[in-house]
C-alpha cells in the first residue's frame, strides 16, 4: 500500500485500478474490486501533493468510487448485504483507504430502502475524526458531504408530511453539515500553522486553493435550509458566526463572511443585521472590515433595487433605519479601533455612502454623517500629513467614484453635498490645495455637464439651488479655484496660490496678451449654469432673486483679484439678460411697470459696478473690453429708451477711451466700434444727447495719432449723420421719411477726411484713402435723394479727377522697379515651368497686396487655403507692388460704376 512518486504516475495508476475494479465487478468479484479500490485510494495518502494536484486525483477517484457505489446499490441485497460490507471494509489495512471505502459503502447503503440512517451518518462523521492531516482531512470530509448531500435532502422529503418530524430532520441535517463545516474549518486553519515559518506564504496560497471545500459546506447548508428563516436565525447563523469569530484566522474570516453573504438570501441578512455586524466587530484586527462591509452593502443594495423594480411595496425594513445600524457599526468600530488607517475608514464610509444612496436617495443627512466620520478620523490624525497614497482614496470618496449611481443622480448628489453638507465641504477644504483644485474642477465639470444637458433634456439634472445660503456654500467651496493663479512657470517654481498682497500686482503687465485659464473658464461657465438653474427654482426664479444671486457670485469672484477679467464678463452677460427679461416682463405685467423700471435701473448700476471693478483690478490689460462693455450696455439701455442711462454708459466709454486706451491701433478700432454703436441708437435724439456724443466721437476720430486712422475714422463717422433702417422698428429705406440725417454734416466729414488723405506724404496710402472716400461717396450716392444736395455729382467727379491725377503720378514713381519685377517674374516662370500652380498664381505681381479696413497690408498667399500675411507695416514690398493696391482698388470701383450705369441711369453721370 504505497503511493506513486509523481502526479503522472498516480494518474496512470488510478486509471489502471479503475479498469481493474470495473473488470472485477463485471465478473462479480467484489472482493477483488475492493482490493483494487483500496490500492487506488492509497494514492490519496501522498503527503507531497499540493492541493491542486491532490484535487485532480481526488476527482478521478471520486468518479471511480461512484461507479463502485452504483454496483453496490444495484446488487444489494441479492448478491451482498451492505450492512455486512460496511463491517467488512473496516478491516482494510490503511486508515485513509478504509474510511473512503466505508463512506462509499455507507452512502450506498443509505440509498437503499430502510437503512439505519442516523446511526450510519453519525458513524461516518465520527470516523472522519481519525484523519487529522489538514489536506487529507478536508478532502475526506468533502467526500463525505458530497456523497451524503442527496441523502440528507431525501431525508427531508421523507419527513415532509409530518411537521414535527420535519423539524427534527431539519435540525439533524443542519447539525450534521455544521459539524462537518466546523471540523473542516479547523483543519483548514490548522494548515496555516504547519511546516516551517518560511513557507508561510506558500501555506497561505494553498489555503486559498482549498477554501472552496470549506465554503461548499455553507452552500450545502443554504440548500438544506432553503427559505426556513427560523432555523437559520436560531440554529445555524449563531453557530457559524461563533465558529468564524473564534477561529481568529483572517483568511477564514474574510472568506467565510463573503460566502455567508453570497449564499444566503439577502432578506435573511436584512433580518439578522445586528447579529452579523456584532460578529464583524469581533474579528481579527488585521482583517479589512471595509471590504466585508462593502460586500454586505452591495448584497443589500441588490435587495432594494429588486424591491424598487418589483411591484411589491417596500416592506417595513426601509423605515427601520438601516443606515443608522450601519453608521453605528462604523462609528463603534472607529471608536474601538483607533488603529484603523484612514484608508480603512474611507473604505468603511464608502460602504455607508453606497448604502444611503441606494436606500435613501433623498437623504443628505446620511451622507453628511458619513463624511463626518472621515472628517473625525482625518482630524484625529492631527498634524501628520495624509500619506500621498491615501489621497487618491480621499478624492475618490469625495467624488463618489466607484459607486454605482446614475450620472444624473451623481450630479444631483454633488450639488446637495456641496450646498448642504458641512462635513463634506470641511473635508474638501482640508485637502492639499492642488488636490482640492482638482476635485473642485471635477465637481464644476459635473455641474456644467449635468445642467447644460449635453446629453438630452431628459438627462439634464433636476436638482436646483433653492436658497442663497446654498449658493454661498457652493461658492465657498470654489474659493481655491476663484483665487487660483495660472502659473506660466513650471509647477515647481510657481506657487499656485496667492497671498493677499501678491494679488495686487502680480498680473501680467503685457496688455496685448491674454492667458487663457481653464479654471477661470469653468467658473465663468458655472455662472451660466447657476443662473439657468434658478429659472427652475421655486424660490429664486424671479428677476430680483436672480440678480441677488448674481451679486453673490460677483462678490465671491471679486476675491480672485485680477481673475475677474475671466469671470466678470459672464456676470455682466447675465445682468444684461436680466435687463431684457425685466423689460419683457414689464410689458406683460403693466401693473408692475414701476417695479420693473426700478429693477432695470438697479441692474444697470450693477453692470457699472462690474466695469469699475474690472478697471480697478485688471489694469491696462483689459481696458479695451471694459470700454466695449460700456458701449454694449449703452446700446442695450438705448433699446429700452433709457436715454440717460445710455448716455452715461457712452460717457463712461469716452472716459476709458480718453484715459486708458493709448495704443493707436486699439484706439482706431475702439473708436470705429463706437461709431457703429452710436449709429444704431434711437433714444438719444432727445436732449441733444446724440449730437453731443457723435460730435465727440468724430472729434476723437479726427485726433487719432496716425493720419490714415484719422481719415478712415472720420469718413466712417460721417454715417453718424445718416441713420439707416432698423428693421424691428419698422423702419424702411425709401419709405421711412424721418430718418435722423444731415447731409451737410456728412459732406463736412467727407471733406475733413479728404484733407487728411491729401496731407499724407506716402502717396500710395494717400491715393488708396481717396479711393476709399470715393467709395464712401458712392454709398451716399446710391442712397440718393437728399444726399445729392450735398455730395453733388460735381463733387464726386472732382474727386475722381483728383484720384486719376494721383494715380498717374504713382505710376511714374513705380516705373523703374516695375521693369525689374517683370523680368524677375519671367525668369521665375522659366525655371519653374513644371510648377504650374505657381505660374498660374502669378497674375500681375508676385504677391498681390490689398489694404484692410484698418489700413493693414494684406499680402495674399500663393498657396490655396493659406491665410494672407496681414501686417500693419510692410517691410520688403517693392514699390510697384504697393502701387498696385490703389490701382486695383480704383479699377474695381470703376468696373462697379460702369456695371451699375448699365442698369441704373443715375450712374451715367459719374465721369470715371
Amino acid at each position: 500500500m504505497s503511493y506513486s512518486s509523481s502526479l503522472e504516475k498516480a494518474i496512470s495508476s488510478i486509471k489502471k485500478q479503475t479498469y481493474l475494479i470495473q473488470r472485477s465487478l463485471n465478473k462479480r468479484d467484489l472482493m477483488s474490486a475492493l482490493k483494487y479500490a483500496s490500492l487506488m485510494l492509497a494514492e490519496l495518502r501522498n503527503p507531497k501533493l499540493p492541493p491542486k494536484q491532490y484535487y485532480e486525483i481526488y476527482t478521478l477517484i471520486f468518479d471511480s468510487l461512484s461507479n463502485l457505489s452504483l454496483y453496490l446499490i444495484d446488487n444489494h441485497p441479492n448478491h451482498h448485504h451492505l450492512a455486512d460490507l460496511y463491517e467488512l471494509v473496516q478491516y482494510a489495512g490503511n486508515v485513509l483507504p478504509r474510511l473512503y471505502l466505508m463512506i462509499t459503502v455507507g452512502a450506498s447503503y443509505l440509498q437503499c430502502p430502510n437503512p439505519p440512517r442516523d446511526e450510519i451518518l453519525k458513524d461516518m462523521m465520527e470516523m472522519c475524526r481519525a484523519i487529522q492531516n489538514p489536506i487529507r482531512g478536508l478532502f475526506i470530509r468533502y467526500y463525505l458531504s458530497q456523497t451524503t448531500k442527496q441523502i440528507l435532502i431525501q431525508k427531508l422529503k421523507d419527513d415532509s408530511d409530518n411537521d414535527s418530524n420535519l423539524e427534527v430532520s431539519m435540525n439533524f441535517n443542519c447539525q450534521y453539515i455544521i459539524t462537518n463545516f466546523i471540523e473542516m474549518n479547523k483543519l483548514w486553519v490548522r494548515l496555516q500553522h504547519q511546516g516551517p515559518l518560511r513557507e508561510r506564504k506558500q501555506r497561505t496560497k494553498e489555503r486559498k486553493e482549498l477554501q472552496i471545500l470549506v465554503g461548499s459546506q455553507l452552500v450545502a447548508l443554504s440548500e438544506i435550509i432553503d427559505d426556513n428563516f427560523t432555523i437559520y436565525k436560531e440554529k445555524v447563523l449563531p453557530v457559524i458566526l461563533e465558529q468564524i469569530t473564534q477561529c481568529r484566522d483572517v483568511i477564514a474570516q474574510e472568506y467565510l463572511f463573503e460566502i455567508l453573504f453570497q449564499v444566503f438570501p439577502d432578506e435573511f441578512h436584512l433580518e439578522t443585521l445586528p447579529l452579523l455586524l456584532d460578529a464583524m466587530l469581533h474579528l481579527n484586527p488585521e482583517l479589512s472590515h471595509d471590504k466585508l462591509l462593502w460586500s454586505l452593502v452591495e448584497r443589500l443594495n441588490v435587495f432594494i433595487v429588486r424591491q424598487n423594480e418589483g411591484l411589491n411595496a417596500v416592506d417595513g425594513m426601509k423605515e427601520d433605519n438601516l443606515f443608522k445600524i450601519f453608521w453605528q457599526f462604523v462609528s463603534k468600530l472607529n471608536e474601538e479601533r483607533p488603529d484603523l488607517s484612514l484608508q480603512q475608514t474611507i473604505g468603511l464610509v464608502k460602504s455607508l455612502l453606497n448604502l444611503s444612496l441606494k436606500w435613501y436617495p433623498e437623504s443628505v443627512e446620511n451622507l453628511d454623517h458619513s463624511y463626518e466620520l472621515v472628517l473625525q478620523k482625518y482630524q484625529d490624525l492631527g498634524d501628520d500629513p495624509v500619506p500621498i497614497d491615501s489621497e487618491c482614496f480621499l478624492s475618490d470618496l469625495i467624488l463618489l467614484k466607484n459607486i454605482d449611481i446614475h450620472e444624473k443622480d451623481r450630479t444631483n448628489t454633488f450639488l446637495k453635498l456641496v450646498s448642504q453638507s458641512d462635513s463634506y465641504r470641511k473635508l474638501l477644504s482640508l485637502q492639499r490645495l492642488p488636490l482640492q483644485q482638482d476635485i473642485i474642477n471635477e465637481l464644476l465639470d459635473a455641474f456644467t455637464m449635468g445642467f447644460f444637458g449635453t446629453n438630452s433634456e431628459a438627462n439634464a439634472s433636476k436638482e436646483i439651488i433653492n436658497s442663497k445660503v446654498q449658493l454661498e456654500h457652493i461658492l465657498s467651496m470654489c474659493e481655491p479655484i476663484i483665487k487660483s493663479r495660472i502659473s506660466l512657470l513650471t509647477p515647481k517654481e510657481g506657487n499656485n496660490n496667492i497671498t493677499e498682497d501678491e494679488a495686487q500686482d502680480d498680473d501680467e503687465q503685457d496688455e496685448t496678451f491674454i492667458i487663457l485659464d481653464a479654471n477661470q473658464e469653468k467658473l465663468a461657465k458655472f455662472t451660466h449654469v447657476i443662473i439657468n438653474s434658478l429659472n427652475n427654482s421655486e424660490i429664486l426664479y424671479t428677476v430680483e432673486k436672480q440678480m441677488e444671486c448674481l451679486l453673490i457670485l460677483k462678490s465671491w469672484y471679486y476675491k480672485g483679484g485680477s481673475n475677474i477679467k475671466y469671470t466678470y464678463p459672464s456676470i455682466i452677460t447675465n445682468f444684461w439678460k436680466l435687463i431684457r427679461k425685466s423689460n419683457k416682463l414689464k410689458s406683460r405685467l403693466p401693473k408692475k411697470k414701476s417695479y420693473y423700471d426700478d429693477v432695470i435701473k438697479k441692474l444697470f448700476k450693477h453692470i457699472s459696478r462690474c466695469t469699475n471693478d474690472l478697471f480697478n483690478l485688471c489694469g491696462n490689460s483689459y481696458t479695451d473690453a471694459i470700454y466695449k462693455f460700456n458701449l454694449q450696455s449703452a446700446s442695450l439701455a438705448d433699446q429700452l429708451s433709457l436715454n440717460e442711462i445710455s448716455y452715461d454708459f457712452f460717457s463712461q466709454a469716452f472716459t476709458v477711451f480718453e484715459e486708458s486706451l493709448s495704443d493707436s491701433k486699439t484706439q482706431f478700432q475702439s473708436l470705429v466700434y463706437m461709431a457703429q454703436t452710436l449709429q444704431k441708437t434711437r433714444s438719444l435724439y432727445k436732449e441733444s444727447y446724440y449730437d453731443s456724443l457723435i460730435v465727440r466721437c468724430t472729434l476723437h476720430g479726427s485726433k487719432l495719432l496716425k493720419k490714415q486712422d484719422q481719415c478712415r475714422a472720420v469718413y466712417l463717422c460721417s454715417h453718424l449723420w445718416w441713420a439707416t433702417e432698423i428693421s424691428i422698428l419698422g423702419e424702411e429705406e425709401g419709405v421711412t421719411r424721418n430718418f435722423h440725417r444731415d447731409g451737410k454734416r456728412v459732406l463736412e466729414c467727407i471733406q475733413r477726411s479728404l484733407r487728411s488723405a491729401d496731407s499724407i506724404m506716402d502717396n500710395v496710402q494717400s491715393c488708396e484713402l481717396m479711393i476709399e472716400i470715393f467709395n464712401r461717396c458712392l454709398y451716399y450716392f446710391i442712397h440718393g435723394d437728399e444726399s445729392e444736395n450735398f455730395l453733388t455729382i460735381k463733387y464726386i467727379n472732382g474727386l475722381i479727377e483728383l484720384i486719376k491725377t494721383n494715380l498717374k503720378n504713382l505710376r511714374l514713381e513705380g516705373d523703374d522697379e516695375d521693369l525689374m519685377i517683370d523680368t524677375a517674374v519671367q525668369q521665375l516662370s522659366r525655371t519653374n515651368i513644371s510648377n504650374s500652380q505657381f505660374v498660374q498664381d502669378i497674375d500681375d505681381t508676385l504677391n498681390p497686396i490689398f489694404m484692410g479696413e484698418d489700413g493693414s497690408y494684406i499680402e495674399l498667399s500663393k498657396l490655396k487655403g493659406t491665410p494672407a500675411n496681414v501686417s500693419s507695416k510692410i517691410s520688403s514690398a517693392k514699390m510697384s507692388n504697393l502701387i498696385r493696391i490703389p490701382i486695383r482698388h480704383y479699377n474695381g470701383t470703376r468696373e462697379y460704376v460702369m456695371n451699375q450705369s448699365e442698369i441704373d441711369d443715375r450712374f451715367k453721370v459719374i465721369n470715371i
Binding site: 426664479y541 423689460n583 446700446s635 478700432q669 454715417h719 493693414s856 487655403g865 500675411n869
Partner: protein, 295 residues
C-alpha cells in the same frame, strides 16, 4: 475642399458650449480642411482645442472682444516663452478654388451689417466671397455678383444689438416709424435699381428662427396693436387672478435677441461654392443648401 466658418462663440462669457449635436457633427477629423473663426472665439481654451481638432488650419479674425494678439493657452508647454505671434487681423483674404474669400468680424463696418458697406469692403479687398460675423444671425445672399455669408453665432450667444425680431411692445413707440414690415432685411430696391440681384437666402433661416419663438415673430409684430388690445382686456377683468412673474414663460431666444446656434460650411470645388447652413432649432439640426457660382 471644405471650409468651416464659426463665429461669435462667446464662450465662456456668454455661453457654455456649442450644442452637443453640433459638436458631434464637427467631430470628423481630416474632413474639414480649414476653419475660419469670425470673431469673439478666442476666450476659451476648451473651444480652441476643439477647433484645433477639427483642422490644424485655423484662421482667426478679430471680433470686438478679442485681444490684439492671440491668447496664450496655459496648457501649452511654450506658454512661458511668450512667443510673439502675429496680431489677430481685422481682415484677411484666403484663396480657395477659384475664389478669393474675404473675412471680417464686422464690428468695424459702419453702419453695422449694412449690405452696401459690406459690398464696399468686398470691393476694397477684391474678393468674390465675403464672410462676416458679429450679428449672431445667420445670413447668406448674393449682391453685385459677390456672395455674402454670415454664419451667425455657433452657440446662439446673447447679443446686445437690436433684436432681429420680437415683441415690439417693449420698444418705445414714440421713435417708431409707422410703416409696414415686409422682410427681415428689406432690400433697398430704390437704391439698388431695377436689376435686384440680392437674394434673401438667409431668410429661410431667420424664418425658422421665428418659429422657435412661438409667441413672437413677424406675425406678432404685425399684430402688435391687437396684442395690446388683448392686454387691455385682461386688465379690465378684475376677477381674474393676477398674473405674476411665475406665470410668464419667456423663451431664451427672446432674451438672447432671437439667436439660434448656427454655423456655415463652404464646399468649394473650382468655381462652384456650395454653402451648407446648419441651424439648431428646438433640439434638432436643420440644414439648408445654397449654391454660388463664380461668373
Amino acid at each position: 475642399m471644405l471650409l468651416l466658418t464659426l463665429s461669435d462663440a462667446h464662450i465662456p462669457d456668454r455661453s457654455i458650449d456649442l450644442p452637443a449635436k453640433f459638436k458631434k457633427l464637427l467631430s470628423v477629423p481630416d474632413k474639414i480642411s480649414q476653419v475660419i473663426l469670425l470673431g469673439n472665439c478666442t476666450r476659451s481654451s476648451e473651444f480652441l482645442n476643439f477647433v484645433n481638432q477639427i483642422s490644424p488650419n485655423v484662421t482667426i479674425i478679430r471680433g470686438e472682444f478679442d485681444t490684439a494678439f492671440p491668447p496664450i493657452m496655459a496648457s501649452s508647454k511654450r506658454a512661458n516663452e511668450k512667443v510673439r505671434k502675429d496680431e489677430i487681423p481685422i481682415n484677411t483674404i484666403i484663396r480657395q478654388g477659384d475664389f478669393k474669400i474675404g473675412c471680417c468680424s464686422g464690428y468695424t463696418i459702419v453702419p453695422k451689417n449694412d449690405p452696401l458697406s459690406l459690398l464696399t469692403l468686398a470691393r476694397q479687398l477684391d474678393v468674390d466671397i465675403m464672410l462676416w460675423g458679429g450679428t449672431h444671425n445667420v445670413e447668406a445672399y448674393t449682391l453685385e455678383g459677390k456672395f455674402f455669408v454670415n454664419p451667425g453665432s455657433c452657440t446662439g450667444a446673447f447679443n446686445t444689438d437690436w433684436p432681429v425680431m420680437g415683441d415690439l411692445s417693449d420698444i418705445d413707440v414714440s421713435e417708431k416709424v409707422d410703416s409696414k414690415r415686409e422682410e427681415v432685411m428689406a432690400v433697398d430696391k430704390h437704391a439698388l435699381s431695377k436689376n435686384d440681384e440680392k437674394q434673401e437666402v438667409g431668410k429661410a433661416a431667420t424664418d425658422r428662427t421665428s418659429e422657435a419663438n412661438n409667441s413672437d415673430g413677424v406675425g406678432k409684430v404685425l399684430d402688435d396693436t391687437e396684442g395690446n388690445a388683448t392686454n387691455d382686456k385682461n386688465n379690465t377683468k378684475e376677477e381674474e387672478p393676477e398674473i405674476t412673474e411665475r406665470d410668464i414663460d419667456l423663451s431664451e431666444f427672446d432674451i438672447n435677441g432671437s439667436n439660434v446656434p448656427s454655423f456655415c460650411l463652404l464646399d468649394i470645388q473650382g468655381s462652384v461654392c456650395t454653402l451648407y447652413i446648419y441651424i439648431f432649432v428646438n433640439g434638432d439640426v436643420k440644414v439648408d443648401k445654397v449654391v454660388y457660382k463664380k461668373e
